[in-house]
Symmetry: C2
Subunit: 207 residues, 2 copies
């Protein structure tokens, strides 16, 4: 059985990578590589434990971000990636990476977009004083967390004040929604609404 | 038993007013008046059916919005309002109304603020392509839907495309959260977090 080939990019602890490994890898997708801008990050260790190839692209090794992203895109193409998943990848991707993978790069963001884009989304939400927190899985475009939404999940935390507490509460939603979105995406399960191409809907052909 | 006195402002069908009448009026609060900028709106009819005094303040009767709002504030003070609830009141309130009622004006908005402020919030959310919709009850300040959040509730509607369908789905949340917020507010049930005064938390003294 030939599985859809997925590359994961990560910068940190890799819990979303682990969720993808545990739920999809070897069954519904083949994670053919894990790339990182942070040599030594825990995500790379998780990949090695799962016998997945790794590659590192620290910015210090390149002339600029575009050069780094071009090298990372070349690697992702070499290993045959059809879909790229950002699982806690903290650097902004330039067109040098995105252009070969348009509409096939997925990100998970710890807020209900369009609220609280960019870094420290949970801290931003707490500063605003929201009572509902959440997670967005979306396609990546050239903006910061502006691409079409694939899946969202919410949780009411009316008394939350601690970012770590919110993080712990929404992490299970991330670990559920990101694999679900990847599973649907590789199966052609999303299509743009003809009436509004940035609104993604479930494709009729898929479950 | 002396109940806290509440004035409700409305412009439309008045379903949120009805929820307040059905759950709180005569039990936990006394709705002493319903004001409107729209003579003949259904909300005024609902007030009359519940034998609540009504007053209308159409903008055409005044020199400008400040004059209208000053008249409306004078009326609300005359009837003894301690808290003012905007229940589908569609005009922006000026300081002429807000100043006498600072921190005591509550609004219900059909989105998870800070996303989708202002008019047509549901249409804005559908245009963005969100999968989670919701309701925010907040204190009114001088901005458009920018005041401190009191309560929020969310609902996942991943396949929604029709504003009317979303409206029907979130209306029960409005009808639950608005009376709950008013009940807590008149009982002193909210207090600003000392670490961040725009984050409202449940007061320790209240249930």
């Amino acid at each position: 059985m030939i599985l859809p080939r997925v590359v994961v990019l990560a910068s940190g602890s890799g819990t979303n990578l682990q969720a993808l490994i545990d739920t999809l890898h070897g069954r519904e997708v083949d994670i053919v590589g894990v790339g990182s801008d942070k040599p030594g990050c825990r995500a790379l260790g998780r990949a090695e434990e799962a016998r997945i190839a790794t590659a590192t692209f620290p910015i210090a090794d390149y002339a600029d971000r575009a050069a780094r992203d071009a090298a990372m895109a070349a690697w992702a193409q070499e290993v045959g990636a059809q879909v790229v998943v950002l699982a806690g990848y903290m650097a902004l991707l330039t067109p040098a990476f995105l252009d070969p993978f348009r509409e096939r790069v997925v990100n998970v963001h710890p807020s209900l977009l369009p609220a609280f884009t960019g870094l420290h989304a949970i801290e931003q939400a707490l500063a605003y004083g929201v009572k509902v927190f959440g997670v967005t899985v979306h396609l990546v475009d050239d903006g910061v967390d502006t691409g079409p939404v694939l899946l969202q999940g919410a949780i009411e935390l009316p008394d939350a004040t601690d970012p770590e507490e919110v993080h712990r509460a929404i992490q299970p939603i991330e670990h559920r929604l990101l694999p679900e979105a990847v599973r649907l995406l590789v199966a052609g399960g999303f299509e743009p609404d003809p009436e509004n191409p940035r609104r993604m809907r479930r494709a009729v052909s898929s479950g």
